[in-house]
């Protein structure tokens, strides 16, 4: 088989990988903020929920989580989950647990004087969070978030094991059919790398935006 013939099936897999990564990154981001903010909530129930979620999903293997969601959860709930839903859900929950720690730490890193000024101006806690703390904390979150997004892209290869035909799955299938191991795996690596590059660029653009939002770098 020519290299060029390998491309279409691999690109189809790459497309699945891209969508899974995008969807689970968005899902993970939502969970990160929910649990990261929740772990500092005044209501003890929220704090407990947020912290338990983070501990459970950081403390167990992603592969086992995916298997559990795909094979065990449907049995327990009596529903069936498509591999796509199970894959996105598993990746989101996993990356969200790591992201929650980033959010929690960044929120805590904002100077206490900012909170005191917000209190002195009589802001309510929600106003303090969204108007004062969050705009300054986002910029701290971006470098670790950048790592997590790329981690998520690479972790998404595990969804091939719950029968999703992503890039890793297609590469493996092709390899079994053609035995062209070197070109297939080389192309696969390059495709992952290309996607990671795009993600890095996107994250860097968001980071620049958050720097402006934080007022750290100012046009005079």
């Amino acid at each position: 088989m020519q290299w060029i013939d390998l491309l279409p099936p691999l690109l189809r897999g790459a497309e699945v990988t891209a969508w899974i990564t995008i969807a689970s990154t968005i899902g993970g981001a939502i969970l990160s903020f929910a649990a990261g903010i929740g772990s500092g909530a005044r209501f003890a129930g929220w704090r407990w929920l947020a912290r338990t979620y983070v501990q459970v999903f950081r403390g167990t293997s992603l592969l086992v989580q995916l298997f559990w969601i795909y094979f065990a959860l449907p049995v327990l709930l009596g529903i069936s989950l498509s591999p796509t839903v199970a894959g996105v859900l598993g990746l989101s929950l996993n990356i969200g647990a790591y992201g929650a720690e980033v959010v929690r730490g960044s929120l805590a890193s904002v100077e206490s004087g900012q909170l005191e000024a917000a209190t002195a101006l009589n802001f309510k806690p929600v106003q303090t969070l969204w108007r004062v703390v969050m705009p300054q904390a986002l910029v701290e979150m971006m470098p670790p978030f950048g790592n997590l997004v790329i981690q998520n892209l690479k972790d998404s290869a595990l969804v091939s094991l719950i029968s999703l035909s992503d890039l890793a799955f297609q590469a493996d299938t092709l390899r079994n059919q053609t035995l062209d191991t070197v070109p297939i795996l080389t192309l696969t690596l390059l495709m992952y790398f290309a996607m990671a590059l795009v993600l890095m660029l996107v994250m860097r653009a968001i980071e620049r935006y958050t720097v402006r939002l934080s007022g750290r770098e100012v046009s005079r």
């Binding site: 005191e116 000024a117 101006l121 004062v132 705009p135 007022g215 100012v218």
Partner: protein, 257 residues
């Protein structure tokens, strides 16, 4: 006239059991401008922080006008204040911090209008008008669209004063407003505070080591030591003829600096 601030047998302990205020009694009359002076760690800033609800108290009652600050009247007795009560009471008080604590993510103008709009419920136009007047008073109109990080310490402090004034507090407190400033900036900021004191009928509570400024601005100077007021009176009397030995020592030290 009833006092605007009353501390009644207030005790403040920190978590490590250090007692900062012990059975502390203190009153401020409306329109009074009171300066608290004394060695660091003597509890002066704690008085301000209690009034700003940044520190709670363990015993006693603090009143703002007739209403307890850290307590609520429930069934005739005093219960610890809810967040709602604190929110209501905070509206009476404003504070200027040693380190300014401007919001770096907002322009100068937004720093000043944010709370009037979102806390007091002013329209944007009203808030901007109020902010522009205050910026003019503190001499910072030219910087209304600048971000705090592009300003000097003295400029930041003048903005912080405008920001606190925009909430129209009955009591405005200054916690060592010039100690974080380079020496050449100190004069400007003190001048601004003095102007405000003469133009507005504001009650002020000021922690400062600037004696000349205290003499100009204050009606009463309180010398604070070990969590209580050792000596107080008109600035002239405290500065020229202090009766307590600790006051004399402290004044000699500050003058030497």
């Amino acid at each position: 006239m009833k006092p605007i601030v009353t501390f009644e047998k207030v005790t403040k302990r920190f978590d490590d059991d250090t007692v900062v205020l012990d059975d502390f009694d203190f009153e401020i009359q409306p329109g009074e401008r009171v300066v608290l002076m004394g060695p660091s760690g003597s509890g002066k800033s704690t008085v301000l922080r209690i009034l700003m609800t940044l520190e709670d108290i363990q015993e006693g009652v603090v009143y703002i006008e007739d209403e307890p600050l850290w307590h609520e009247k429930r069934n005739g007795s005093l219960a610890p204040a809810s967040e709602k009560h604190l929110h209501k009471m905070r509206g009476n008080v404003g504070m200027v911090f040693q380190h300014f604590n401007l919001f770096p993510n907002m322009t100068v103008l937004r720093n000043i209008i944010e709370a009037p709009i979102h806390v007091l419920g002013l329209s944007r136009a009203e808030a901007v008008k109020r902010a522009e007047e205050l910026l003019d008073q503190v001499g910072m109109s030219a910087k209304r669209d600048a971000y705090p990080n592009s300003l000097s310490g003295g400029q930041k402090q003048r903005i912080a004063i405008a920001r606190a004034m925009a909430m129209r507090p009955k009591l405005l407190m200054f916690d060592e407003p010039t100690s974080a400033l380079d020496p050449e900036m100190v004069g400007d900021v003190l001048e601004v505070i003095k102007d405000l004191a003469s133009e507005h009928d504001l009650t002020m509570l000021i922690v400062t080591h600037e004696m000349g400024f205290a003499r100009d601005v204050a009606n009463r100077v309180c010398f604070f030591c070990d969590g209580r007021i050792l000596e107080q009176g008109e600035p002239e009397k405290i500065f020229t003829a202090p009766t307590e030995q600790r006051t004399q020592q402290f004044l000699r030290m500050v003058l030497k600096e």
